[in-house]
């Protein structure tokens, strides 16, 4: 099994609302996969289908090599719902114990695991025994995240994990998700926060009106059809660079940034050789990158037009 999650032609309607239409998706084992899209795009609906909470009208889903309705597989899945409600009278310790028991952990395991995950999510130990009814949104979210991490699941499904958490806390949660990925956990998360997702995930799919409009490894998606090269300023540098095929982009004082269209490494090497031959000095070469927002904008605008 090399795929943690596979979806084929998933459809979900709520009356006349088509929440998800013909969704195809594959999450490689060990990936940190981000499903992004604006509110109402169908992200939560898809996650609920992955976990067998909602049933698709059509399509096939395979989770960790089995069906979403296979109860034994759920032991290996950790889930943070979108708007988690923890029984108000329960303390984090009690809540986690309750989840741990159902997940089949033994009593000593529950004690150890509860400690580990609560420390991991950075919940202040004085709050561990307090009832969650008085918790802030962030504290509740951390408790929910701890429950998802309990028992080291193979697949972690997080619906808007940083929702309601302050910027410092967000960085902390990004770190702990990264740690989980390093330990071999596959992470599938949902977010409408692009910058967040960009920082955490290595794979993304963009959902728009229930359909995947872009998908792939983030470093491939981000690559633009161009390279940027920074040369040291010199007499006639612009002429030499232009003659080699570069176009000037920016003046940084003692250096200048140029751009070369295209993605071919051969073309880049040839242009660089020509520029170096003319005596220019290279300070930096990098692929030109788009941010996720640009990817999203490019992806959604044409497809939305197509749908209209």
């Amino acid at each position: 099994m090399t795929v943690a999650l596979r979806a084929r032609g998933i459809e979900k309607r709520f009356g006349s609302v088509r929440a998800v239409t013909g969704l195809d998706l594959e999450v490689p084992l060990g990936a940190c996969f981000g499903l992004i899209g604006e509110n109402g795009a169908g992200k939560t609906t898809f996650i609920k289908m992955v976990l067998g909470i909602t049933r698709p009208n059509a399509g096939e889903l395979s989770v960790l090599g089995g069906s979403p309705h296979d109860v034994t597989l759920r032991r290996h899945i950790g889930y943070l719902p979108e708007r988690l409600q923890i029984p108000e009278s329960f303390s984090p310790l009690r809540f986690l114990a309750s989840v741990g028991r159902v997940k089949g952990l033994t009593r000593p395991q529950i004690v150890d695991e509860t400690r580990r995950v609560l420390e991991l999510v950075g919940l202040d130990p004085v709050a561990w025994k307090r009832s969650t009814g008085g918790f802030s949104k962030g504290m509740r979210q951390r408790t929910g995240l701890a429950a998802a991490l309990l028992g080291r699941p193979k697949l972690l499904v997080l619906d808007e994990p940083t929702d309601g958490i302050d910027p410092l806390g967000r960085a902390q949660i990004r770190d702990l998700i990264a740690d989980a990925v390093r330990e071999g956990t596959t992470v599938f998360l949902n977010s409408h926060l692009l910058a967040e997702t960009e920082k955490i995930c290595d794979h993304v799919a963009v959902l728009s009106q229930g359909r995947v409009v872009v998908r792939g490894a983030l470093d491939v998606l981000k690559r633009k059809d161009a390279f940027r090269v920074r040369f040291k300023k010199a007499d006639g540098d612009v002429d030499h660079a232009t003659a080699a095929g570069f176009a000037p982009v920016d003046d940084l004082g003692d250096s200048r940034v140029f751009k070369l269209e295209g993605q071919s490494a051969e073309a880049l090497s040839a242009a660089l050789a020509k520029a170096l031959g003319a005596g220019l000095i290279v300070l930096e070469v990098m692929p030109e990158l788009k941010d996720l927002e640009t990817i999203l904008r490019e992806a959604i605008v044409p497809s939305a037009r197509g749908a209209a």
């Binding site: 609920k48 032991r75 719902p81 708007r83 988690l84 009278s89 009690r94 159902v102 929910g144």
Partner: protein
């Protein structure tokens, strides 16, 4: 169905009730009810004879003095009815919001993502609520017995009998309440249907009388059909009252009523399981 999982769900229902101080309030209310009963029931007992008896100021025993044994036949059935009917009403109100809370959005999603089958969740709630109902009733009858013991200077089984009748009826009533909660997560609706079954169950006990009031025809056949499977709650209390009053239990009638009540409850629990299983959350 994995009994361990069912028990885990039931135990969490109990834990939530305990930690939300909800049970404490519940037990406090029962206690208050008992104190009221103790103060309202005014009996004068001299040498095993009761010379006067008043309940809420109204004379229930007056004139000639009465042997305690004689009192049993007159007052014990009343106590059975009181404990049984008030207990049932009390339980319906007390547990109405438990299932809607467990099934509430944001919470049920997490539960359903855990290794729990949906029918195990439903069965667990049913079990948990019945344990709450049984323990609060036991607490109640313990207190009621004490009141009678102090007032009469003799022990009586009447409160226990009344509580058992209430519990048997509640098996059926809560089945309907649970099924209602699974369809629509509303405590008010759940309690409403609980009262409906309770009322209908009382009326069904005198079904011949009720049917006689309805003109013959489709309406009457329909009424007979509806009343057929309903648990005959008043019949149960009648039998309990007779027993507490010193008569023998009419097992011939009691067994079908008890069996019917259990079957009725389980039928609706099964219905609730089906509803939850086919539903999207």
């Amino acid at each position: 169905m994995n009994p361990r999982t069912v028990w885990n769900v039931a135990a969490d229902v109990l834990r939530e009730a305990v930690f939300s101080k909800y049970l404490i309030v519940l037990f406090g209310l029962i206690f208050l009810g008992l104190v009221t009963l103790a103060l309202a029931l005014d009996l004068e007992v001299v040498d095993g004879m009761i010379s006067a008896g008043k309940l809420f100021g109204g004379t229930i025993i007056g004139g000639q003095s009465m042997a305690v044994g004689e009192l049993l036949t007159s007052i014990m059935p009343v106590i059975v009815y009181l404990v049984c009917f008030l207990g049932t009403i009390f339980m319906i109100i007390a547990v109405a919001d438990i299932a809607p809370r467990v099934l509430q959005p944001g919470r049920v999603e997490l539960t359903l993502s855990l290794p729990i089958r949906r029918h195990e969740l439903v069965a667990g709630i049913y079990l948990g609520v019945l344990i709450i109902a049984a323990s609060s009733t036991l607490f109640g009858i313990g207190g009621a017995s004490m009141v009678l013991f102090v007032k009469l200077k003799m022990a009586s089984a009447a409160p226990l009998v009344g509580a058992l009748c209430a519990l048997v009826g509640f098996l059926a009533i809560y089945g309907v309440m649970l099924a209602t909660s699974c369809v629509a997560r509303s405590p008010a609706l759940s309690a409403g249907f609980g009262f409906l079954v309770f009322g209908a169950g009382l009326a069904t006990s005198d079904r011949r009388l009720v049917l006689m009031l309805i003109k013959s025809g489709v309406t009457r056949d329909l009424a007979a059909l509806v009343m057929g499977p309903l648990p005959r709650l008043k019949t149960l209390a009648d039998i309990g009252g007779e027993y507490a009053g010193g008569q023998a239990i009419r097992w011939g009638e009691a067994v079908p009523v008890i069996g019917g009540s259990v079957a009725f409850g389980l039928f609706f629990v099964a219905l609730a399981c089906i509803v939850v299983t086919v539903k999207d959350y």
